[in-house]
Symmetry: C2
Subunit: 240 residues, 2 copies
């Protein structure tokens, strides 16, 4: 049996009881080393398998092999495993094996970061990852343009990394070029819910000059998003 579990943003106090129960029921907890360290101390007696980034396929193959040996394995992702996490790949790897794979939701970065910034996702939004390791940049660019044209709120995952430090600036320029005003409200959160949490609300024109790294999630408002009392609010449309 394999559980693919989203542990939410911050370790133990945003993991659901359903996910906690599955973690406790497992023999082995497996995942990216950074996330294993977030939860390790809460599960004494478990076997932990820590992996580096880019070993996603190995994690899934190992989990499948262990499940075949009648072990219960929890494969963890931060946030929600079903959003740019391990859920899809695990289902693909296990397909046809006869092994049971259960996905257990967690709070994804869009929602945890939104709650820190205020309420920016109260109207229709897109999530776009700027990682072009697995998706051609041409597709990412097209999606950014469509998000502009629909006046969606835009939540950006994986805005930058050491290997692609300029993707975020590039994305902002595309948005501005396709009609998103530089004065559009934009905010970001680094280390949501973890030690060193930092957030700032600014504008699309200004956020390009911020230090946006791989630990950040960015939310760019729609044309109606505004700031009140230090909170970023996208109106749902109620008349006050």
């Amino acid at each position: 049996m394999i559980y693919v579990i989203g542990i939410g943003p911050r370790g133990i106090d945003e993991i659901t009881p359903k996910a906690l129960k599955a973690l406790n029921d497992c023999d082995i907890i497996s995942g990216y080393s950074r996330y294993i360290e977030l939860i390790r101390s809460h599960f004494p007696g478990k076997i932990f398998m820590s992996y580096s980034m880019r070993e996603e396929l190995k994690r899934c193959n190992d989990a499948l092999a262990l499940s075949r040996e009648h072990k219960n394995v929890a494969l963890i992702s931060s946030g929600d495993a079903g959003v740019y996490g391990m859920a899809g790949l695990m289902l693909e790897v296990a397909s046809g094996s006869g092994e049971d794979v259960q996905i257990i939701s967690g709070i994804t970065a869009a929602n945890s970061c939104a709650s820190i910034l205020g309420a920016p996702l109260m109207n229709d939004y897109v999530t776009i990852s700027l990682s072009d390791l697995l998706t051609d940049w041409s597709i990412i660019e097209r999606r950014l343009i469509c998000a502009c044209e629909g006046d969606f709120v835009i939540c950006i995952y994986n805005p930058a990394s050491n290997h692609r430090p300029d993707n975020f600036r590039r994305a902002c320029k595309i948005l501005i070029h396709h009609g998103k005003s530089e004065s559009t409200i934009a905010g970001y959160v680094r280390n949501a819910g973890r030690e060193g949490e930092f957030s700032r609300i600014t504008t699309l024109g200004e956020i390009m000059n911020e230090d946006i790294d791989m630990l950040c999630t960015v939310i760019i408002g729609n044309s109606k998003t505004y700031v009140s009392n230090g909170k970023m609010i996208t109106p749902r449309g109620y008349k006050l």
Copy 2:
């Protein structure tokens, strides 16, 4: 003090410890009657305030008045309060009052339904509400078209209600008219995580004929979404 709390899809076993603590710390738990009933029995000794639909502004005004009387109030939404929930309106109503409003995330329907259907949100996606009570249909239509053009996975909230039974069929026809193939994989979940949970995976062409009501969330795949072992999977792009 006002907490706006997402209780997730199913009541108690998908509420985070952080949200549970805030609920326990409050004097009063307030919300739509259906959601109050989901959690009432778990919080003996609390005062509950149940409201009907469309009383959103009253809920917020009441919460603000109680907070001014030094009560701690928990205003709940199902799913995540920051996604088509109570977070934004509460911040708008409390703005300038000096009362402290804290938003606590929950698991939103997109994520809970995705985990039941498989892993359909592994690539870029949009969420669109088909409720035209607060958003003009022309805007909804434009967003559906942009979502098509970007080949986004599309998660549909509020697909239908008694007042607008045809919005969902209308939306599907717009998607097909703008190039989304009728054979695109599409799935839906009714009562995610609750008694009477039901889910089905079919195609965009077929889902129009399903009984999609206000208790359903619908996820329509991108051009690469497929079904394997009864699970809906949108590939992230890994080479197996």
